[in-house]
């Protein structure tokens, strides 16, 4: 009997402990970052001759393939670094996706950071604040090539400024192309023809199309199985959601789900609580009551909505420029009759609808402060820009360092400090492809990478636009062809100067760290409740008040402080 009691006691202890263990994770992390002294890198930075050895922590894409005999520590890039710059890279840690963040946390906790690291925004702030990163200000000034500088400062230096603390540079940000995050209105043109309507140019016409798609049997199967317009459940998700985004719809009323924009008085304010949002939600509620929305949208994520799009139940939705690669592609493969086209978003008021774009800075390349060769990071970044992103790089260079024509392996995947092309490169390609297709320039004269895309599109057009047999050609055509999402819509957004960019893109402010998650949840719940009619539209005013008092005001203050501090130099 006694042993039984002991056992019971023991088991209770186990349960209590395992519960407390769950909540103790955050504490240890904070302790670790607070303690910045005594960091010692496990690497050896001995300079043998002129060779600088760097240990590297690398995030993998999960798709890497190597040529025969090559591996991550021995490939065309590492050999080039060694020969050209005398930099020897030792990849000591590599992992995919979220696992990489896990490995990074372990490395920070055990104070065993490699020399060259790729870090997400949150960890960048922590490491930089703890003084664990090398100051790159001087080496950037001395070593960065003009090409690298122009790529990093393409947006006027705002994103690079986010890597600075007190005016000193601690990392090289992966400059994000905000343009591609804006919403377009995607519509099935075969359905439009069937119901005898034109593409909508304002909210009234959009509702008309939605009603026709819902009730006029656009797929002609005699069944009541189509929805007017497709939405998914994330009303205000951190990384946006496509297809089925709400931002394009909200924009019709001059509101955005999670943007930070200057108000009339010049201070930065949250757009998720703008008064226009109330009208937008009321309108959505009306559409919901009319049956135009799938009543299950509140539990469907973008993947689920993609299934509906692919199987031909949804013919209109808001989404970004990449849609032809995903759901719409599956849709035309399932049903050769189907065709998709993107249109500019529409407005519900007399003002023109202004689409919103977000800078999503998700990684920085940094150097451990104990590394003796901080200039290496700039040299490596230069190399990638010269070989891959330069508009002057020859076809031979691209074949050697980019996609290997023999095996189809993308060698650029294992370059270090591989900063993806900035915006202007994409724009150049699109312009060049368009010019080549219309015969203004010869295909030989345009950039070799653009020429590859051009050839795919040309072949698609020459074969009579047969999207059933050449769905890949259709992808490229809809993406960067003359009718493509980028050329027709995004460039016209930009030409008319209506593309709005959310100004806040730093790491979380202190109050955001503690309160943003619950505020976001509250926002999402209120939006969905109003749309589905479980709450009156007037509940929006109450939500706005709650949002402000529960931390929104503090966050707004901090965002303004961040804005002033970050942009004081550049403004």
């Amino acid at each position: 009997m006694k042993s039984k009691k002991v056992l019971a006691l023991l088991l209770t202890g186990v349960i209590a402990l395992s519960l407390s263990a769950c909540s103790s994770g955050g504490g240890t992390e904070a302790e670790k970052t607070g303690d910045s002294t005594g960091t010692e890198s496990g690497s050896v930075n001995t300079s043998e001759g002129d060779i600088a050895e760097l240990t590297v922590m690398h995030k993998l894409s999960g798709n890497e393939k190597y040529r025969e005999g090559d591996d991550i520590n021995n490939n065309v890039w590492t050999r080039y670094y060694l020969e050209e710059y005398g930099i020897k890279l030792n990849y000591t840690v590599a992992a995919v996706g979220d696992d990489y963040t896990q490995k990074l946390t372990m490395a920070i906790a055990s104070k065993d950071l490699p020399d060259l690291i790729e870090v997400p925004a949150k960890e960048f702030q922590e490491l930089a604040a703890a003084g664990m990163l090398a100051d790159l200000t001087d080496v950037y000034e001395q070593e960065a090539s003009d090409l690298l500088k122009s790529a990093l400062e393409a947006d006027g230096g705002t994103q690079l400024a986010s890597a600075q603390i007190d005016g000193r540079l601690y990392g090289i940000p992966q400059v994000a192309a905000a343009d591609s995050t804006c919403d377009l209105l995607w519509i099935r043109t075969d359905w439009l023809e069937k119901v005898g309507l034109e593409a909508p140019t304002n909210m009234e016409e959009l509702l008309e199309v939605a009603r026709a798609f819902r009730y006029d049997d656009p797929d002609g199967n005699g069944q009541d199985d189509t929805w007017g317009i497709g939405f998914q459940k994330e009303t205000n998700g951190q990384d946006g959601a496509s297809p089925g985004s709400f931002e394009g719809f909200f924009a019709a009323y001059g509101a955005y789900a999670r943007a930070w924009l200057p108000d009339e008085d010049g201070s930065i304010a949250y757009t998720g609580i703008r008064s226009g949002m109330k009208s937008a939600l009321a309108q959505l509620n009306q559409m919901y009551e009319e049956g135009l929305l799938d009543p299950e949208f509140g539990v469907k994520d973008a993947t689920k909505l993609s299934e509906d799009i692919a199987s031909g139940r949804v013919g209109m939705f808001y989404g970004n420029e990449g849609v032809p690669w995903g759901a719409a592609k599956s849709c035309i493969e399932m049903n050769p009759e189907a065709d998709w086209q993107c249109y500019p978003i529409v407005s519900a008021t007399d003002d023109v609808a202004k689409p919103i774009s977000y800078v999503r800075l998700n990684k920085y390349f940094v150097i451990n402060k104990n590394c003796e060769n901080p200039e290496a990071i700039i040299k490596l970044a230069n190399a990638f820009q010269d070989k891959i992103n330069s508009l002057e790089s020859s076809e031979e260079t691209l074949n050697t360092f980019g996609v290997d024509p023999e095996t189809g392996i993308n060698l650029a995947e294992y370059a270090a400090v591989a900063l993806d092309p900035a915006v202007q490169k994409c724009n150049t390609y699109y312009a060049e492809i368009k010019a080549a297709l219309s015969g203004e320039v010869k295909p030989e004269e345009i950039h070799p990478e653009a020429k590859r895309y051009y050839e795919t599109i040309k072949a698609y057009l020459d074969n009579g636009s047969d999207k059933t047999n050449d769905s890949l050609g259709w992808n490229y055509y809809k993406f960067i062809g003359p009718e493509g999402s980028w050329n027709t819509i995004i460039n016209s957004y930009k030409a008319n100067d209506i593309l709005v960019e959310s100004v806040f893109f730093g790491a979380s402010t202190p109050t955001m760290g503690t309160k943003l998650a619950s505020l976001d949840k509250m926002q999402s719940e209120n939006y969905i409740n109003i749309i589905m009619g479980t709450k009156e539209a007037d509940a929006f005013d109450e939500f706005v008040n709650n949002w402000k008092t529960l931390g929104g005001d503090e966050i707004t203050k901090e965002v303004n402080e961040w804005y002033d501090a970050t942009f004081s130099d550049i403004k």
């Binding site: 023991l10 202890g13 186990v14 402990l17 263990a21 103790s24 994770g25 240890t28 670790k32 993998l60 894409s61 999960g62 798709n63 991550i72 990849y91 000591t92 840690v93 590599a94 992992a95 995919v96 996706g97 696992d99 896990q102 490995k103 372990m106 906790a109 055990s110 065993d112 993609s306 299934e307 692919a310 199987s311 031909g312 990449g322 690669w325 995903g326 759901a327 592609k329 599956s330 849709c331 493969e333 399932m334 980019g402 996609v403 024509p405 095996t407 189809g408 392996i409 993308n410 995947e413 993806d420 590859r452 895309y453 050839e455 795919t456 890949l472 490229y476």
Partner: protein
């Protein structure tokens, strides 16, 4: 003589069968669905049109996985880990459980102290980061032994073995001692041959544990080449980064866009669980005996 069944009994049996049937179906149907998805084409999977039979048959997902060096490396790693881990765990389990099963204080005076010493490890652990620090400071990170040594003494198995040893008649042991055997010989020649059933149970626990473990592989292994199979399965990121797919890649490898995340996931899960699924039915009876074994004491 035939026992007549009452009506209520019949109804009970019928409902019992229906209930158990539904339960069994709910276990097997997701697997069949996964199987169908893994053999279907991308468009069909994306449109969620696949139920329990492959549509638009395609082996692209399997070609993708089996054409990947990593799958074989990880498979070899897991096999090695299961074999070595089984040996280490089993020998240490026996060596710990045997002395702890001697509850006569004249034989083993500090038994109580040691029992608590081991039991405490079952209830308290250092937590993720401290454990990682210990492993990294003894230079085990990125080494195969990081998968074996931190969990070298599976306490649950020790408890099972301990109770089993206790249940064996003491007179056998006394006879062996009288015949001049020492403690070690008694264990080796008398106890172990008598414990084959419980050793099989413990082996099964250990093997399944090692086969399924993925988290230690993730935190202790620095390069994906060294991941065991389950870590690889867990970590494979199946979102194809569209911006990185080039037309050349697609021309060389037109299957690339034909495989989907869900198709590959389904294929991988099947390929990774199949071996253990095949072994399981044959070992399952030991599982049941093993769990019951420790529960009855004299």
């Amino acid at each position: 003589m035939k026992i007549r069944e009452s009506n209520s009994r019949k109804i009970f049996v019928i409902f019992n069968y229906i209930f158990l049937g539904i339960l069994a179906l709910s276990c097997i149907l997701p697997l069949i669905n996964l199987f169908a998805i893994s053999f279907s084409s991308r468009a069909m999977v994306d449109a969620n049109a696949v139920r329990f039979w492959p549509k638009d048959f395609s082996t692209a997902a399997y070609e993708y996985i089996l054409g990947n060096r990593q799958y074989y490396q990880s498979f070899a790693m897991t096999i090695l880990r299961v074999v070595v881990g089984w040996f280490v765990n089993l020998s240490l389990t026996i060596l710990v459980a045997y002395p702890l099963s001697k509850d006569d204080p004249r034989i083993f005076r500090c038994r109580r102290l040691y029992t608590w010493f081991f039991l405490i490890t079952m209830c308290f652990s250092g937590g993720l980061i401290p454990t990682y620090l210990v492993v990294s400071k003894v230079n085990l990170v990125n080494s195969f032994w990081a998968l074996i040594l931190p969990e070298a003494v599976p306490m649950f198995c020790v408890l099972i073995m301990m109770n089993f040893f206790k249940g064996l008649p003491k007179v056998i042991e006394e006879a062996a001692l009288v015949d001049g055997a020492n403690w070690f010989v008694t264990m080796w020649k008398v106890y172990i041959p008598l414990s084959k059933a419980s050793l099989a149970t413990v082996s099964l626990f250990v093997i399944v544990n090692h086969w399924n473990a993925w988290f230690d592989g993730l935190i202790y292994m620095n390069m994906p080449e060294k991941y065991p199979l389950m870590t690889y399965l867990q970590s494979i990121v199946l979102k194809f980064d569209i911006t990185k797919i080039t037309s050349e890649m697609l021309m060389r490898n037109p299957n690339l866009l034909e495989v989907t995340g869900r198709g590959i996931k389904g294929a991988l899960i099947l390929l990774c669980t199949l071996p253990i699924l095949l072994v399981y039915p044959f070992l399952q009876k030991y599982f049941v005996t093993g769990v019951v074994m420790g529960s009855v004491k004299e």
